[in-house]
Symmetry: C2
DNA sequence: ACGAAAACCTAGTAGCACTTGGTTTTTTGT
DNA sequence: ACAAAAAACCAAGTGCTACTAGGTTTTCGT
């Protein structure tokens, strides 16, 4: 994960479709329920059926709002990005850490992100386009918030963060934040242009 | 990925089932074909049907050798581990790098490993048991080959390696080996017990 | 209050992993 | 060499799931 701020890219390209008040509420409701369902199902991805039932809808009802199951999942991450951009000042180090602590404590979100991240290797997958926007935004945030020595340090930090998420999924006792803090300290101690 | 050496755990617990000569050959053939299929399909995991066709078998024919599709995938990684343990001396730094260079150049293997890694968050998934054995073996190899300052450095390096694989899937131009070499240099320059 | 568009459902379809219950092929014991 | 015996393999299913087609109901601007 590591932050993002979709809202920073541009002014919301998606969601051109018109909606009634009930519709926008339902859409948000589905996103929330899907995230909960993702947390609940340790195994693979949750079934569309379960998500639908959680909001008293049929599967077709859910698909009315999202092009496909995977589009729904990516939409969760997008919504999360927008939300984070509003609630935290990601361009300061303190804000970034605060965001990370909250994100890590949301089970399912990490798994969702990693799943989408691997799925994105297919250019046709909706997650591909999302990450093509998300990744540079993360870079931007890291650069502004931490002011590391060079681009390499930024890339490494982000890679380490994602790798630690992967590990955390298997071993939840992993102190993700602590490990990252220590790495940042190490990177900052390094001379520039090393 | 980052090496492994399944053969180091114990003396092959699995494969107690008896097999004719043709059977063991087929099994190996399937493993090879499945890896190729995994590389070919950028999208998700390959279909059982495609793997079966590649070796002139039906789907049921393949399932005769592997309990399930996911068991087959995990078996690929296990076979790979055994193979690597034979072909490289993973307890030396040179051997470790050589192994890594070859592994990274095998498309599909990385994706397979990452996929199994996320699937392993479900304790019921066959990849869970595999990684429970694999992870400590990797730690062992890293410790022996690199002699880093402390356990934290080892954990971080492994996490970074996995994170870089995730990134490499999206951006194949990523210089995975180069980034890792630089991190190792940085970690070795650090004082012990920092 | 009326009409149009969104919201939603019923009843499918198709693709997939996997099972069942066999037949064929390979191997081993004598 | 020649039966058993067991592995190798297949045809035809089953069940689950994401998704579609087409219709009905609800919302809401005018």
């Amino acid at each position: 994960m590591l932050a993002s701020a979709t809202a920073l890219y541009t002014g919301q390209v998606n969601d051109v479709t018109k909606r009634y008040a009930k519709g926008t509420a339902r859409r948000a409701e589905i996103l929330a329920a899907a995230l909960v369902a993702y947390s609940a199902s340790s195994r693979s991805a949750p079934r569309l059926r379960d998500i639908a039932q959680a909001v008293n809808l049929t599967e077709a009802g859910v698909l009315h709002y999202f092009e496909s199951k995977d589009h729904l999942f990516v939409a969760i991450l997008e919504a999360r990005d927008d939300d984070a951009a509003k609630r935290y000042d990601l361009h300061t180090e303190a804000g970034l850490w605060a965001y990370l602590e909250e994100t890590v404590c949301t089970p399912g979100l990490t798994k969702l992100f990693v799943d989408m991240s691997t799925a994105a290797s297919d250019p046709q997958h909706p997650a591909h386009a999302f990450l093509a926007r998300h990744d540079p935004a993360v870079r931007q945030v890291v650069r502004a918030a931490l002011n590391l020595a060079d681009p390499w340090a930024e890339e490494l930090l982000i890679a380490a963060a994602e790798g630690l998420q992967l590990r955390w999924l298997r071993e939840p006792q992993t102190d993700l934040i602590g490990e990252l803090r220590r790495l940042v300290a190490l990177l900052k101690a390094q001379p520039r242009h090393s």
